[in-house]
């Protein structure tokens, strides 16, 4: 039987890998993909709490469904922004989006 902490550490490591990708990669689509990785890490933590918690069993799983819905909306809008950006300037590098720089 696996203790709860094992799942939480797995979720933490997956979250950190996703954060690494978001910080290190240039391509905006790659950044969206790494954001999905971080969403998945949070989902693992929620499902683990849902499975082990003494109170409110199943509540975490219900939240995972809301995260899934919001993640689907986020990825649709994010990729549309990426495609619009590609139309505008033929590039997808996030460090070139500096029009708002003061």
């Amino acid at each position: 039987m696996t203790p709860l902490q094992h799942y939480l550490v797995l979720a933490g490591v997956l979250f950190a890998v996703g954060a690494w990708g978001v910080l290190a990669r240039r391509n905006i689509i790659m950044v969206v993909m790494c954001l999905e990785l971080m969403f998945n890490a949070v989902n693992i933590a929620l499902a683990a709490f849902s499975n082990y918690a003494n109170l409110g069993a199943g509540r975490g799983e219900a939240f995972v469904f809301f995260v899934l819905a919001i993640a689907a909306a986020e990825v649709a809008v994010g990729l549309a922004i990426g495609i619009a950006m590609f139309r505008l300037r033929e590039r997808l590098d996030v460090d070139e989006l500096d029009e708002m720089k003061g």
């Binding site: 039987m1 696996t2 203790p3 709860l4 902490q5 799942y7 939480l8 550490v9 797995l10 933490g12 997956l14 979250f15 950190a16 890998v17 954060a19 690494w20 990708g21 910080l23 290190a24 990669r25 240039r26 391509n27 689509i29 969206v32 993909m33 790494c34 999905e36 990785l37 998945n40 989902n43 693992i44 499902a47 709490f49 849902s50 499975n51 082990y52 918690a53 003494n54 069993a57 509540r59 799983e61 469904f65 809301f66 899934l68 819905a69 993640a71 689907a72 909306a73 990825v75 649709a76 990729l79 549309a80 922004i81 990426g82 495609i83 590609f86 997808l92 590098d93 996030v94 460090d95």
Partner: protein, 165 residues
């Protein structure tokens, strides 16, 4: 259903190894393939957590829908010249130590924290989950469909090609 700890380690490797590959591979298509493997691994984690409905939703939504959407976006935004770009930007050398520090901190905190939780799984039934979704969380559940509708309209509006007269 109870799963032993070695099973957990195998499933965790199925999640972490593709995730690291995905971030470090240079070709975007290979990265997307690694991402699909990672999402499937997360579905396996849900199975070991007795969340069968979540595992099925994970396969349908992430592996089925979101991966295809991302592959479409990658193929729509390919550069015509085929020139090799720079895949990691200027400050990316700092990203790996920062992410490693985040992993260490999260691992230490989450590994040692004590929660109001038993040491063994409670096996919440799917019926329990549906009761929650359609009674207590019925309003947010319906609101999520509104959010999805807004996202669809927004995505179409953003990605539409402007036709100039």
């Amino acid at each position: 259903m109870q799963f032993s700890t070695p099973v957990f380690y195998i499933v965790a490797a199925l999640v972490i190894i593709p995730a690291v590959l995905m971030v470090s591979l240079k070709n975007l298509i290979y990265s997307a393939m690694a991402m699909i493997a990672c999402f499937s691994g997360v579905a396996a984690v849900f199975v070991t957590l007795n969340a069968e409905l979540l595992a099925a939703s994970q396969l349908l939504i992430y592996v089925g829908a979101i991966s295809i959407l991302i592959l479409f976006a990658i193929m729509l935004t390919r550069r015509r010249s085929g020139a090799v770009g720079i895949f990691f930007h200027r400050q990316s050398w700092a990203a790996l130590p920062a992410a490693a520090a985040l992993a260490v901190v999260l691992g230490l905190v989450l590994g040692s924290a004590r929660f109001n939780a038993g040491s063994s799984p409670k096996n919440p039934a799917t019926a329990n989950l549906s009761r929650l979704l359609f009674n207590q969380y019925a309003f947010p559940f319906e609101l999520a469909s509104l959010v999805l509708l807004a996202a669809i309209v927004g995505a179409v509006l953003l990605a539409r090609r402007e036709r100039r007269p």
